[in-house]
Symmetry: C2
Subunit: 225 residues, 2 copies
């Protein structure tokens, strides 16, 4: 019965339970076990505490997931204005947003499916929209380009997540494993370029198209020099 670990020492003076420690453990658990594997009970177990203890720091699982998102958006990179031109800084930011999917493929769904609802995530919106504003876009233009560029980056992250994720209920993926068996000629021909190894290039292609269009939409019409 007795576990061999820590024989007689005081029962592990575990660090105090805080919102930050809980959110960090939750993200780690999602990374390891997936969103459906991150349960209040397992999370409590990881933290050496009963599941119910978590409810003293978060009113429920929803707000806890919001805190996980707060941690994810911290990985978005905003270069200082002096670092490069507005368009190039924006490109860095968009790349880093999609890059979250590479490090947290199982958590990225939160970014794509949950609303941004916390002050931290709103601050991210603020910096991002400020960057669009720097390009000379008015409020409507900022919204439109944000939806276009942000939507594409979000979908690109999801595409990566879906490609590497072995969700338990997924049926076998012919596209990835047996392309020669596909009875559709176009799909068969394109399959190599839809594989996970090709996602990086496809993302950069899309970025180039979008930023070229954005550059030409925001370039001053006269005084072109």
């Amino acid at each position: 019965m007795a576990r061999t670990r820590a024989p007689a020492a005081p029962p592990a003076p575990r660090p105090a339970l805080t919102r930050d420690r809980i959110a960090a453990a939750a993200l780690a658990l999602v990374d390891e076990a997936g969103l459906e594997g991150c349960t209040m009970r397992r999370l409590g177990q990881v933290l050496g505490v009963e599941a119910m203890a978590l409810y003293h720091h978060f009113p429920g699982k929803g707000p806890l997931l919001d805190a996980v998102m707060d941690r994810l958006v911290e990985e978005i990179r905003f270069d200082p204005p002096a670092a490069a031109r507005p368009l190039e800084r924006l490109r860095t930011t968009v790349r880093s947003y999609r890059g979250i999917a590479l490090r947290h493929p199982r958590a990225f769904l939160l970014m794509a499916a949950r609303r941004f609802n916390t002050p931290r995530t709103f601050a991210v919106y603020e910096r991002l929209l400020a960057n669009f504003a720097e390009l000379g876009l008015d409020a409507k233009g900022q919204a439109h380009w944000f939806r276009l560029v942000g939507g594409f980056a979000s979908a690109a992250g999801m595409a990566y997540a879906a490609s590497v994720e072995q969700v338990p209920d997924a049926t076998p993926l012919a596209l990835q494993h047996a392309p020669q068996a596909i009875p559709f000629p176009h799909v068969r021909a394109v399959a190599p370029y839809l594989r996970v190894e090709a996602l990086e290039e496809a993302f950069e292609f899309g970025l180039d198209v979008l930023f070229e269009a954005l550059a030409s939409a925001t370039r001053p019409k006269r005084a072109r020099r």
Copy 2:
């Protein structure tokens, strides 16, 4: 105890349980109760059967959700080649894909997060890629433009779904309900154009940008006339 409905009649000669009837009921249940509300037990109840009976038609919930996706992709519109030019037919198809979110906001997440894995969904890929091929794109170009245009449409559908969906664990949405309280000037200025009422225009804006770029990328270089 006795229910008033159907007093003494034979116990409702319910139609035979088939994969199609189950999938249709599942989609209706998702539309009504959301993805998390569509449980095997409730679905059985809707169909007048024990939950376990469903396992005789589907090996599990994953394949059942694949069947729901099969029903969703049936709503994607492919106009016949005679109807319009390839670019305009493609635009119709992309619009109709994002339109699924308008009719099935709670089910659309399946399209964005689950892999296409059934013959029916592969047939959709085939018709879509064939349309890209008509534009003169090679296999890699088809893949890249599919990722770009399809990703944008997918994200646009998700944006709509997230805007209308009252997920139970969502924290109050300041952006939608109390924009004047937002302490971020850019967010506050742009908020009106991010609301659900503005999504249609933002989607059409994105479509215009993408299709203009696609048109210029596939336009024959010489013989421009």
